[in-house]
């Protein structure tokens, strides 16, 4: 008995030392992530400093590092994300509503669910190849242009879409779809069943219940998921590069280069989706691949700073939406 106690005591010191070491290792590994973030941001801001100026945001790209700017990428990414959201959000929320509210628990529903979680794990570059084949080339159909007269402007729809904004937006929409569906499903699931029962008991139809009670209640969660998915799409380079979006371009989609352009030629708006484009991450990739050191290290770093600022703004708005609505809703 006393011998056990002695071994226990002798071991106890050793066990405490192991425990202390283990805790220290875990603590260091975790705080290392803060250090990494600080180093990454520090290095990039430092390298970007000489090239960061307001002009950088309002100029187009150039062969000279002093006069290179990011306007084409900023406007390109803006249009790209707008169309991505317009395509992916309704489909994603619709699919989530079907799966959560309508679908019966049979093999087909399980199949769709499994399929969505697998799709979320497919590498983005594979989506790029799908987009290239299905939207840019449209499986090799012969080239043609459909002209739609709208009275004030003609819409020129090239078929296949070629390397246009709409081909990029469709690809990114498919890429975002699983994320949006999964986030919306979780938001819908968190709406209490009593809300649905109350609406149905008052004589509302199923769709009235969903559209007027369940959806508004789930909206904050859905919006957060959508913004996070879109901010991931904003940083995606591989699928856009595979689509063959332009690397060097000195105009914005639809030749709408400024607000005054928009005022003078509002009719160009209808041709935005079918124009060539570049995007912010693609411009950065292009600059990294340039020959001159100034482009490689400083101009690309400035581009990264702009991209990160936009991302932080988007994520920040997602957090604000979440907090704002969380305070209001009490079940």
């Amino acid at each position: 008995m006393s011998q056990t106690r002695e071994t226990f005591n002798a071991n106890l010191a050793w066990r405490h030392r192991t425990g202390w070491l283990f805790a220290a290792v875990c603590r260091m590994a975790t705080w290392a992530s803060v250090v990494f973030l600080a180093v990454i941001l520090g290095v990039i801001v430092m390298r970007a400093w000489p090239r960061l100026s307001p002009d950088f945001l309002t100029r187009f790209d150039s062969y000279k590092p002093e006069s290179a700017g990011m306007l084409a990428g900023i406007l390109g990414s803006f249009w790209l994300l707008s169309f991505t959201a317009a395509i992916c959000v309704p489909i994603g929320i619709g699919a989530a509503i079907y799966l959560e509210e309508y679908a019966r628990p049979n093999w087909f529903t399980r199949f769709i669910q499994l399929n969505i979680s697998n799709l979320a794990g497919v590498p983005s570059i594979v989506f790029g190849i799908l987009g290239f084949t299905a939207f840019v080339r449209m499986f090799g159909i012969p080239r043609q242009t459909i002209v739609l007269g709208l009275g004030f402007a003609d819409v020129r729809i090239p078929l296949p879409f070629g390397r246009s904004v709409i081909a990029g937006a469709l690809t990114l929409a498919l890429l975002c779809l699983p994320v949006v569906i999964i986030a919306s499903q979780e938001a819908l699931r968190s709406v209490p069943a009593s809300l649905r029962h109350a609406a149905l008991a008052l004589g509302a139809t199923k769709w009235q219940t969903i559209s007027r009670q369940v959806l508004p209640a789930a909206m904050p969660g859905i919006l957060t998921g959508v913004i996070l998915a879109l901010s991931r799409a904003l940083g995606e380079t591989a699928p856009i590069a595979v689509l063959g979006a332009a690397f060097f371009i000195t105009f914005a989609p639809g030749r709408l280069n400024s607000f005054s352009d928009l005022g003078q030629h509002p009719d160009r708006l209808v041709n935005v989706p079918f124009d060539q484009f570049t995007a912010m991450p693609l411009q950065i990739y292009n600059w990294v691949n340039e020959q001159s050191r100034d482009f490689q290290q400083h101009v690309s770093a400035a581009g990264i700073v702009v991209l990160l600022v936009v991302l932080v703004l988007m994520n920040g708005s997602a957090i604000l939406i979440r907090q704002h609505f969380q305070r209001k809703i009490r079940w």
Partner: protein, 333 residues
């Protein structure tokens, strides 16, 4: 079929008098509801169509054989594809299509990434769920989310212009005396490791937190130290979830494109030396595609064959991960 079965099973009174309000009759509201239902079903079907078209597109150029269309594996034999040791699709007159160098490059970066990202991620998860104070969590969780949200081009830039010249070259060339390429697998692997670490941390933390506290308390009651409880009780109880998280993270590392395309270079080499320039499957695809490869040529079709390999590898890992979660999940009451 199911819908019809459900319609008939609706509990309608058997002898409904004709003309009563309970009779099934046409109404605009009912039609509207049905249209909505069909539309929503269509939305849900989009994801299935997407998967089907991915599979079709990849198989069409690489495997499907019909008159007037020879797929990639009709021009290059499967045996050559998997056993030849050279990948030179762009060399005129001397084209070799052996995927080994690309797979080797992918495995090299993935293994480096795993060696860094997995233990760090797991250690962070243990710290966050067992040790960290609420204040520490409130700093660490957003930091991990930010790290996970940084675009992959940024990681590539960091690897190529910071890790290689500032850390790897001084250490390996000046101190240890190795030769290091300007593009190397090590820098790419390290940044991909940093990239998957937040994912491992948050997924594993969720499973660690799901372990009921009664297990912890039982451990403490038997005289275990905090280390004993964390490393010998909590982690083993959550092992299936942790392994699933590891597999998901590795599958993401395999599919990662931009960071390795920027930091690791573009020379397909059959080497296990992480200080050499290599090419991964993903960086081959992105480099080939942006170079305007003529449609229908064998180089063009090789893209689809490589993408098919990539798709199969990540899909298998995701399936195994889901299977482990389902099969070995410990359900605690």
């Amino acid at each position: 079929m199911n819908a019809a079965a459900a319609e008939t099973s609706t509990p309608l009174p058997a002898e409904t008098p004709r003309g009563s309000s309970l009779k099934r009759q046409f109404s605009w509201n009912g039609t509207y509801e049905k249209i909505i239902r069909v539309l929503l079903f269509g939305c849900a079907l989009v994801s299935v169509i997407t998967t089907a078209s991915i599979v079709f597109v990849l198989l069409y150029e690489s495997v499907l054989w019909f008159p007037g269309h020879t797929p990639f594996f009709g021009k290059v034999s499967v045996v050559e594809f998997f056993t030849a040791t050279q990948w030179t699709p762009q060399f005129e007159g001397n084209k070799h299509f052996g995927i080994m160098p690309l797979i080797c490059g992918t495995l090299l970066t993935t293994m480096t990434a795993g060696a860094i990202g997995l233990p760090m991620g797991l250690a962070s998860a243990v710290y966050l769920s067992e040790y960290a104070s609420p204040q520490a969590r409130s700093i660490l969780k957003p930091t991990l989310e930010l790290l996970a949200g940084i675009p992959t081009v940024v990681y590539g830039y960091f690897g190529l212009f910071f890790l290689t010249p500032v850390l790897i070259k001084p250490l390996f060339v000046n101190v240890l005396g190795f030769s290091v390429d300007g593009f190397n697998a090590l820098s790419g692997g390290i940044v991909v490791g940093l990239m998957i670490m937040p994912m491992v941390a948050s997924l594993s933390e969720d499973v660690l937190r799901a372990v009921p506290s009664s297990l912890r308390e039982a451990g403490y009651a038997l005289g275990a130290t905090k280390y004993d409880v964390s490393a010998k009780i909590i982690v083993p109880s959550a092992l299936s979830g942790i392994i699933a998280a590891f597999l998901l993270a590795l599958s993401r590392a395999i599919g990662e494109t931009m960071a390795v395309a920027i930091a690791c270079g573009n020379r397909p080499q059959l080497t296990l030396n992480p200080l050499r320039q290599i090419q991964t499957m993903t960086s081959f695809i992105v480099n080939m595609m942006k170079g305007d490869t003529p449609v229908g040529t064998i180089e063009y079709q090789s893209l689809y064959a490589v993408a098919l390999m990539l798709f199969l590898m990540t899909l298998t890992m995701n399936y195994v991960s889901q299977w482990i979660l389902r099969r070995y999940r410990e359900a605690y009451q």
